[in-house]
Amino acid sequence: MTGSQVTQLTIFIVLFLVVTVLGFLAARWNRGSGLHQLEEWGLGGRRFGSWVTWFLVGGDLYTAYTFVAVPALVFGAGALGFYALPYTVVLYPIVFLPVVRLWSVSRTHGYVTPADFVQGRYGSSLLAFLIAITGIVATMPYIALQLAGIEAVLRTIGLNTTGVLGHLPLIIAFVILAVYTYSSGLRAPALIAFVKDILIYIVILVAVIYLPTHFGGWAHIFNQAQTALQKTNPATGKAFGSITLTNTNQLQYATLALGSALALFLYPHSVTGVLASRSRTVIKRNMVALPAYSLLLGLLALLGYVALAAGIKPVSKGDTNTIIPELFNHTFPAWFAGIAFAAIGIGALVPAAIMSIAAANLWTRNIYKTYLRRNATVEQEGRQAKLASLVVKLGAVLFAIAINPQFSIDLQLIGGVLILQTLPAVAIALYTRWLQAKALIAGWVVGMGWGVYLLYTIPAATGKGHFGGSALALGKLSIFGWHPFGASTVQIYVGIVALVANLVVAVVVTVIARAMGAKGGVDETVGTDYNTDAPQEAEPPLAATAV
């Protein structure tokens, strides 16, 4: 390790200790009737106001991995990586109305997870079970990716992250995270998110103001980047990318942005963040204010071009996730790079904590309580969720250690396609119950099966292998041997294709079932449940919500 790496590591450790103390203190913050109840531990008592929700959901959606991987994608492929911006712009108008309906119905009936809602809406344990399992399976690799984000930083600092000993810093970080999440529940990431965001905002603003002038202005940077991207990639024989889209990837860009936006609030951790807020107004205000992070993400994506123009090389060949840490390492003094690394590291802890809580809630409510212990008390429920959150984190660490990081990226890609298949049962059900539970199950099976199969058929950039990405050439699309798009090379996001198949099956099966006189199950919700608001709207000042 060099002297500057020691400085970086010291700052990283100090800031990490600060958030650890905060994580434990969080248990006492604005506390309700006791953390042994699932609603207290797993949803912060549904009492978070506008500010807390902004930091919590912001920390939840814009993860460390995003901050590392989006610029890395721009660095590697150019304009396509910028899809993160349209994704987070169309996101809020799309979810603005459904999310407040979900909040209202969940509050009225005490739902903690999206699968709780599906159970209540359709009275079908099987459908709720499928939704819960999909959520858990899609969340696990997402947590593992947060670890990949931390490890990219650790590698830049010069810590070798191979073997069990090399993973030790990561294991220590996660044990600490697991312990304070266990004791404080959702309040821990909510409080830590403040620190994370302040650090991230400082770092990005400095980077975006300082770096372009340092490297000769944006015009020069884009010129250099375009030259670098136009070089031939020896693996594919084609250019690496371009600063604008090509004819074949424009549709992919739009469908990837749309599909990702549709998927995001189906993820259990996003739902957890929303359900923890105090009122409809809190959520609506946040839908207006959260795009501040989108601006940040867009600016950060451009740093991928700055890295190209600056001639930054990853720590080791192909390890593009280290591009942004390396850029900071080369252009900032050691102490500031240390702050930036701590921001990314802490940025990984917040979503990892929320995701493990969300997965634990799903396990407890929709598997443990439905199948294993039907008459569990609220205390047993709470204890089970806390234990489950430990298991989930342990699983994610083992995952990160045992499995090649590239594989966890593949799984995350699959996770996005999988979670999108819960859209008909969760999102459409907020508006209509016309689709029947059996039809939704059939649609889920087809969407899942076909989506994963299509991902399997996509080769890596070298033309060989499987799970090489989420872009499918339309010409490869075959419905029982029929190629509706001929030999087109235009690419599309697989998730959208699978979702369309899912919806078509759900509609067709519903029409047939209704023609045969099938009745849907029991719906325990009524129309007004979806518009209910909390009686008290007054927002306490920020100071009053602090510890």
Binding site: N30, G32, S33, G45, R46, R47, S50, W51, F82, L85, P86, V89, V90, Y92, P93, F96, L97, R107, H109, G110, W218, A219, H220, F222, I243, T244, L245, Q250, Y253, A254, L258, R280, T281, R285, M287, V288, P291, S294, L295, G298, L302, Y431, V526, G527, T528, D529, Y530, N531, T532, D533, A534, P535, Q536, E537, A538, P540, L542, A544, T545, A546
Partner: protein
């Protein structure tokens, strides 16, 4: 952040509970249509070129940054315009009265 109370006073007589709103439960408001406008950002051919650049940023990039403002603007207008919308605050829920009153507690 200061806020204006947007809900009817708790004195409003409770609506009939049994089956109320089973009919629809949908609140239709024309302002909501404004939420469709930001979807135009997905029409890629409109902005997939480099000129005219702004401050060195190719059109592709600054156009999409500008759309962040369009997105925020549309959501904000819908939020502001539908603030006074009648919502039901009287339906009982499973949270105890004590919990509900703890919002402002330090």
């Amino acid at each position: 952040m200061p806020s204006t109370p947007t809900t009817p006073s708790p004195d409003t007589p409770p609506p009939p509970q049994e089956g109320a709103g089973r009919v629809s439960g949908l609140i239709v408001n024309p302002w909501n249509l404004l939420l469709l406008l930001p979807m135009l950002m997905l029409v890629v051919p409109w902005f997939n070129h480099t000129d005219p650049a702004l401050g060195g940023l190719p059109f592709f990039y600054w156009y999409q940054f500008a759309f962040v403002i369009v997105g925020v603007g549309c959501v904000w207008i819908v939020y502001a315009a539908t603030k006074k919308q009648r919502v039901d605050t009287t339906t009982p829920d499973r949270l105890s009265v004590d919990d509900l009153d703890e919002g402002g507690r330090a």
